[in-house]
């Protein structure tokens, strides 16, 4: 039977060999044309690339699926799924294009382990996260928090403190880590160490980008956030008429001590330069104003509006004297106050209060990170 089929095939092949040759030659010619003629080649190769890219995008959907499992509380299933995904995920180094996705994967996996009560594996996964990209402070902070949650007893564990220190080495103004490290020191009765952390927080250079709307332009100005008054001098072009100036604080509390605009000179006219004071007109959006004119920001969208009654000749410069305050919540301040008291540094405590604005809402203050990188 088989020999019969082979025979028939052979016969058919011989009968149609010429046609097959022609078809084959045409196929080869088409391939050569596709290779040789850029116009033909390009759409084909682009299609090939799109296939690759589609295949590549499946990593995103798979990761989202894993995260969804965690969000739905299906931790056992999530852990199994994510472990498998982890073993085949393409980003093996922080230099790879999907480094953030791998970090999300590890974070989801760590969380799954933690919820499943596999604390050892959870902590190992957090440690892998910090090792994957040691320059991600959020990974270190997640490790610190996890260690506190999983291994903390009456005091902060050493590993958590080390992770807090790692955060502060790259992000010295991260208030939750400052608080965590101060707590760690105070737990051990080391008030001087707590004060060192506190002093470093107060004095480390922190800049906040303010957006100042004056005239028809937006000016970006970095100001020091240190609780000390500072001058800001800004060349502006404000046309004659309404003299409104808006300061978008990015969520930081601010005190405007003085605001003036300088009117322009005119060519050939020996009239002196004039200055016009601006009044704090209102605070927009979230924010409350103290009696002494401090904007206590309640949201990143907080805005201060300054205005002059009228600017007949416009303005050419804006001069501000302002103070921007570092984020501070009651808990952290109480840790600092306790350290001052225990070290008998009461005068310093009193002196430093002029630089502080304690906010009642810890969650809000903690959310006031630096500008996202």
């Amino acid at each position: 039977m088989a020999a019969d089929w082979q025979g028939r095939l052979r016969t058919a092949f011989r009968r149609h060999e010429r046609r097959l040759m022609v078809v084959y030659a045409l196929v080869v010619a088409a391939v050569v044309a596709i290779v040789g003629v850029p116009r033909l080649r390009s759409p084909v190769l682009t299609t090939v690339q799109q296939m690759f890219d589609r295949a590549d995008r499946r990593w995103d959907s798979r990761l989202r699926h894993g995260e969804a499992l965690v969000a739905e509380g299906r931790f056992e299933e999530a852990a199994t799924y994510l472990v498998n995904l982890d073993s085949i995920f393409p980003a093996r180094t922080v230099h790879a294009g999907r480094d953030r996705e791998r970090e999300r994967l590890l974070m989801a996996l760590a969380l799954s382990y933690e919820r499943l009560g596999r604390n050892g594996r959870a902590l190992d996964t957090y440690r892998r996260l910090t090792a994957f990209d040691p320059r991600n402070w959020r990974s270190h902070f997640a490790l610190a928090q996890a260690v506190e949650r999983l291994e903390g007893g009456w005091a902060t564990p050493d590993e958590a403190a080390a992770a807090y220190r790692a955060v502060l080495a790259m992000h010295p103004n991260h208030l939750p880590s400052v608080r965590g490290l101060m707590q760690y020191a105070i737990d051990g009765g080391r008030f001087d160490e707590a004060m060192m952390v506190w002093d470093a927080y107060l004095d480390d250079v922190m800049l906040q980008l303010l957006y100042i709307y004056a005239g028809d332009a937006v000016h970006e100005v970095n100001v020091r956030v240190d609780g000390r008054p500072q001058e800001v001098v800004l060349p502006v072009r404000m046309p004659p008429g309404d003299g409104h100036v808006q300061i978008h604080t990015g969520g930081f509390s601010l005190k405007v001590h003085e605001a003036i605009v300088v009117t322009p000179q005119a060519v050939g006219s020996a009239t002196p330069t004039d200055t016009v004071p601006l009044a704090v007109l209102r605070h927009w959006s979230a924010g409350t104003t103290d009696a002494d004119g401090v904007l206590r920001a309640d949201a990143p969208a907080s805005v201060v509006t300054l205005a002059a009654p009228e600017l007949p000749s416009g303005a050419t410069a804006l001069r501000l004297r302002i103070t921007a305050f570092k984020p501070l919540d009651r808990d952290t301040w109480s840790l600092a106050e306790r350290s001052y008291r225990n070290l008998l540094r009461l005068e310093e405590r009193d002196a430093v209060t002029t630089r502080l604005l304690v906010h009642p809402d810890r969650a809000l203050v903690d959310s006031l990170d630096a500008i996202p990188g």
């Binding site: 391939v31 290779v35 250079v205």
Partner: protein, 1036 residues
């Protein structure tokens, strides 16, 4: 097709078609199909590999592009093969890097772009037959460096065998030619820039690619540049793995993300503080903060850097997020930028804003003017184009085949650029900058009647000079005033402009005594650099109602500038730049001290201010109180009424006396006594001596007593200074009595007793040391280290541990000294690996008596005996491995095996017979005759001679041979009058075949003739021959 071929009228086609079978067609088509399949698969593979990353290079590696690249490479492959066959894999061109690595390990680390980061591969560098161990790893910040067959890498040598004098080097395969040209230009701008070179790399004897070698910045880099070890800050936050996630990436807004390549851990001067202060001031936004920024850097250096960046068309790549390297000099606390990764681009296509630092510096019109002045030097006479052309001509000639080969691989490997790109971009940028410099637009408007208001506004890239003001018909009695306080009205604070009336073609003009500068401001608020506007207001009185005209010229080119009209009443808007009239020069003052003075706080004297201390004055300083003078000090006491600096508290030291900066030059101290100081750290500047001179010239200490200092390393410290210490006394000093770092001057006729460290300690210094008496030093009497070249003569060194120690590439001339009762009289050694070699003493006519050891020498050090040439005389040729030319113009002959610059000399390796090395010369020696001095070493040679041949004359001088690989000799040859055409050295090796004990193999040792230096004295009659006459400038 069947009908076409089968029905063809040509019988041979019909016959061919009939015989053709399907299998034949498949066979015929196999090659193109396989090629197509290979191209498709490899392109897809490369795309997939690149897709792992997410940067500019990987995003550009689309399948169509990679396919086209590989197709192009396939077409060019035969030509590439031909070029490859021309490569000499054994070439001794010192520019070539021969790297030998285990192939499998190399592939493990380099072939997979996603792995192997930070992983080292052990290998060897073949340096003309000498195999040095190195380690290699992949480098770079983006996938362009890892995903092609030409991977960028870092080489690290062992401390004992540096390569090109460096221990850590980067080899980058991207934009090799253009980037090399841009970075090579830094040499011309007196900047602190890393060494860079072009390096054809052979990997396991196959050409791997043309790379740009780059020295990595570390302490060795600082020492090579003559800088004290200090902190190098690195800011790089552009690419994955380098930036800090979740934090602001702007380096000039976030001091926490800077890193340190080297750290000078001075107590009380944390490295983070300097960058935090700079960042804080850069964002201060006030004139005061701008002035603080100016004080933290060298503005002229920044102007040089900016001019360079503009010439190469890339002022944007040293941006806010990466390529920031800064060095803080501990001697001045000044931050110096290190140019990094400059590219050669078209300046006319700005892509982004300048970084925050440059923007702040260019708000200063003086900096802008320095930049334009430097640019004028480079573009107006086409100097930049000529230099670029010379660089391209050199590299085209030397690296033609390598450039060709990598050019043929275009698309498959990272782009390397071409020499013609360099020339073209140099021309494009020069032309554009010329238009900038020609643009000195000035707007001019007037108003008023009794007091005329003259308003000028510069609106071009270049500033203008106001040279005259035309006054219509009536000269009157004009007075011109600047609106110095810029309040818009003439008042008491405004300064007059002095000048006179001149009449030109019957029309009176007010001509200022000096042209009134109207400097330009640049606007850098947007991407690129645009001309800014800077307003200058003057008032003209004494000529009411006159019609005035302004005469202006371009401050850079001197061309006449015609002002554009500025309508009266137009508003004058604020400028981006700070106004030149805001910068007020301080008036120098003189302070006088006399009687008894008690200092309770550190005294700082401003730059240019003078301190005069009267004879008999006693200054008592509280603990840690210092005196820092940035102007000259005149403290000249008398033998009977000396000036004294004493501790107020006998138990605790005061700080330091410091003469800081060039304006402190010319200071004079005589009959002064310093006791009980302890060094200090003031304003981040480290003063390691009780008395310090930093960066000041022509400073003299005469008959000064230094004693009983505590805590500080040194008693007297000179750093980057020219200081003369004469007829003074050092006793009971804590560490080194005198420490010269990067300094010159004189140390003469002093007495050193009981020094706690060295009597005299030199680092990279070349003072004249003579007539001193050094007794009982705890360590060395004189320590000559770190590339010092002092002249040391007629000193007495007794009862010390080591009389004179010569270290680390130092080459002092030591003659006529007496060394007695020391444990070691003269020690020559290597101590610091960063200098690559040991010391090299030139010894002559010294008296060594009753020492434990007379001369101690290690295997990395050398000694030259014989009468050294005159101090200060210039060597005509000094040979060392400089990688520029292998043989320095010499040609080998006879039985020579090789002739090559190696380490510290030109080395002729001679086989049995007579080997020669010949240099073509063209010397016309007239009467009186001249003298030739050569510094020669020999090993395993029977005879050496020097032959000078000329027209009808031949002079042959036999040389007494010292058969010692560590010892050299000065050879003096008197050259009679005549014309000479060639200089030949001949070497006859000893027959030194020997049987190795372990292997039983017969080995033959080549004779070696080493030529270190040559010096030519054209005329012995001019007093040049006094070997120790110090140069006139060094005489006290």
């Amino acid at each position: 097709m069947n009908r076409f071929f089968g029905g063809s009228r040509l019988p041979w086609i019909r016959s061919w078609w009939r015989r053709l079978r399907f299998g034949d067609i498949v066979l015929l088509s196999l090659l193109p199909l396989l090629a197509a399949a290979y191209l498709l698969l490899s392109a897809a593979g490369e795309h997939r590999q690149a897709r792992q990353f997410d940067d500019w290079w990987s995003r550009s590696r689309t399948v169509p592009l990679t396919f086209a690249s590989r197709l192009g490479w396939m077409k060019r492959f035969p030509e590439a093969l031909l070029v490859d066959r021309r490569f000499d894999t054994e070439t001794d061109d010192p520019a070539v890097l021969h790297l030998l690595v285990p192939r499998s390990e190399w592939d493990d680390v380099m072939a997979d772009p996603a792995t192997g980061f930070g992983q080292w591969v052990e290998g060897l560098v073949d340096d003309a037959g000498r195999l040095d161990q190195v380690r290699v790893r992949k480098r770079g910040d983006t996938s362009v460096h890892w995903t092609t067959p030409k991977v960028s890498f870092t080489v690290r040598t062992r401390k004992s065998s540096l390569y090109r004098g460096h221990r850590a080097m980067a080899f980058s395969g991207r934009d090799v030619v253009t980037t090399y040209a841009a970075n090579a230009l830094t040499r011309e701008f007196d900047l602190l820039a890393p060494d860079t070179w072009l390096a054809p790399v052979f990997l396991n004897r196959r050409f791997y690619g043309l790379f740009r070698g780059l020295e990595l910045t570390d302490e060795s880099f600082l020492r090579r540049h003559g800088r004290m070890p200090g902190t190098i800050y690195r800011g790089d936050a552009a690419e994955r793995g380098e930036y800090y996630k979740g934090l602001p990436r702007n380096l000039f807004a976030n001091p926490a993300i800077w890193e340190y390549l080297t750290v000078n851990d001075r107590p009380g001067a944390a490295p983070a503080d300097a960058m935090a202060a700079l960042v804080s001031d850069l964002n201060g936004g006030t004139f005061a903060s701008h002035q603080r920024v100016l004080a933290r850097v060298d503005p002229e250096e920044v102007a040089r850097l900016m001019a360079l960046l503009l010439l190469v068309g890339d002022p944007y790549h040293m941006d806010d997020v990466h390529n920031q390297l800064w060095y803080e000099d501990p001697a001045t606390a000044v931050l110096h930028p290190i140019p990094w990764d400059l590219r050669l681009l078209d300046l006319g296509q700005p892509t982004m804003r300048l970084n925050t630092f440059f923007r702040e510096m260019l708000r200063n019109p003086s900096v802008v003017e320095w930049v334009t002045t430097i640019l004028a030097e480079w573009v107006q006479e086409d100097r930049f184009v000529q230099l670029a052309d010379s660089i391209t001509a050199d590299l085209s000639a030397r690296f033609a085949d390598y450039l060709r080969f990598d050019g043929l691989r275009a698309g498959v490997i990272p782009p390397i650029g071409t020499p013609s790109d360099v020339s073209r971009l140099a021309r494009v940028n020069s032309a554009l900058l010329r238009t900038w410099l020609d643009d000195a637009t000035v707007a001019f408007g007037t108003g008023g009647s009794d007091t005329l208001v003259l308003d000028f506004e510069t609106r071009g890239y270049a500033g203008a000079d106001l040279t005259a003001i035309g006054l219509g018909e009536e000269p009157g009695r004009p007075m011109l005033w600047r609106d110095s306080n810029r309040n818009g009205v003439l008042d008491e604070a405004d300064q007059p402009v002095s000048g006179a009336i001149e009449v030109d073609a019957g029309r009176p003009r007010f001509v200022p005594d000096a042209p009134e500068p109207l400097r330009a401001g640049w606007d850098t608020g947007q991407p690129g650099i645009r001309p800014g506007r800077l307003h200058y207001r003057f008032f003209l009185t004494g000529v009411p109602g006159v019609q005035v005209e302004a005469a202006l010229v371009n401050r850079v080119s001197g061309a006449v500038v015609t002002p554009v009209a500025w309508e009266a009443g137009d508003p004058i808007m604020a400028a981006f730049s700070w106004h030149p009239w805001q910068f007020q020069a301080a008036q120098p003052t003189t302070r006088r001290w006399s009687g008894n003075i008690h200092l309770r706080g550190t005294v700082r004297l401003a730059a240019g201010d003078t301190l005069v201390i009267a004879p008999g004055t006693t200054i008592r300083l509280d603990p840690d109180v210092s005196i820092v003078l940035r102007g000259p000090l005149h403290a000249v006491g008398t033998a009977t009424r000396p000036i004294q600096f004493l501790p107020a508290d006998q138990r605790l030291p005061w700080g330091a006396l410091a003469l800081q900066g060039p304006l402190a030059g010319g200071s004079r101290l005589a009959h002064v006594a310093f006791r009980g100081g302890g060094g200090a750290l003031v304003d981040r500047i480290e003063y390691i001596g009780m008395v310090n001179v930093h960066r000041a010239a022509d400073v003299e200490f005469r008959q000064v007593e230094f004693a009983d200092n505590v805590r500080s390393d040194d008693t007297f410290h000179a750093l980057h200074a020219e200081v003369h210490v004469v007829d003074s006394r050092f006793r009971n000093t804590n560490g080194d009595a005198v420490d010269y770092d990067y300094s010159v001057g004189t140390i003469a006729d002093n007495t050193f007793e009981d020094s706690g460290g060295d009597g005299i300690d030199l680092m990279a210094s070349s003072p004249w040391i003579h007539g001193n008496h050094v007794a009982r030093s705890f360590d060395k009497g004189i320590s000559v280290g770190e590339r010092s070249s002092a002249t040391i003569n007629d000193n007495v060194l007794v009862d010390g541990d080591i009389g004179i120690e010569i270290k680390d590439a130092s080459e002092p001339a030591i003659t006529g000294n007496r060394l007695e009762h020391n444990r070691v009289a003269i020690k020559v050694s290597r101590k610091n690996w960063r200098y690559g070699t040991g010391g090299w003493a030139k010894l002559h006519d010294n008296i060594l008596e009753a020492n434990g050891v007379d001369v101690e020498l290690d295997d990395r050090s050398r000694v030259t005996r014989g009468q050294p040439p005159a101090g200060g005389a210039q060597w005509w040729a000094r040979y060392q491995a400089d990688f520029d030319s292998p043989r320095g113009g010499w040609v080998s002959g006879g039985s020579a095996r090789s002739l090559r610059k190696r380490d510290d000399a030109l080395v002729l390796a001679a086989r049995p017979g007579v080997a020669t090395m010949t240099l073509s010369v063209d010397w016309e020696v007239e009467d009186p005759p001249g003298q030739l001095v050569l510094e020669l070493g020999a090993h395993a040679l029977d005879a050496v001679s020097i032959v000078l041949e000329g027209e009808g004359t031949e002079l042959e001088v036999p040389v007494a041979v010292i058969d010692d690989s560590t010892e050299f000799r000065f050879v003096h040859v008197d050259v009679p009058p005549g014309r000479y055409r060639s200089l030949t050295l001949t070497a006859t090796p000893t027959a030194a075949d020997r049987v190795q004990r372990t292997t039983g193999l017969l080995t033959r040792t080549n004779g070696l003739l080493r030529l270190r230096r040559m010096l030519w004295y054209p005329d012995r009659g001019e007093g040049l021959w006094d070997p120790f006459a110090p140069p006139a400038s060094r005489r006290p």
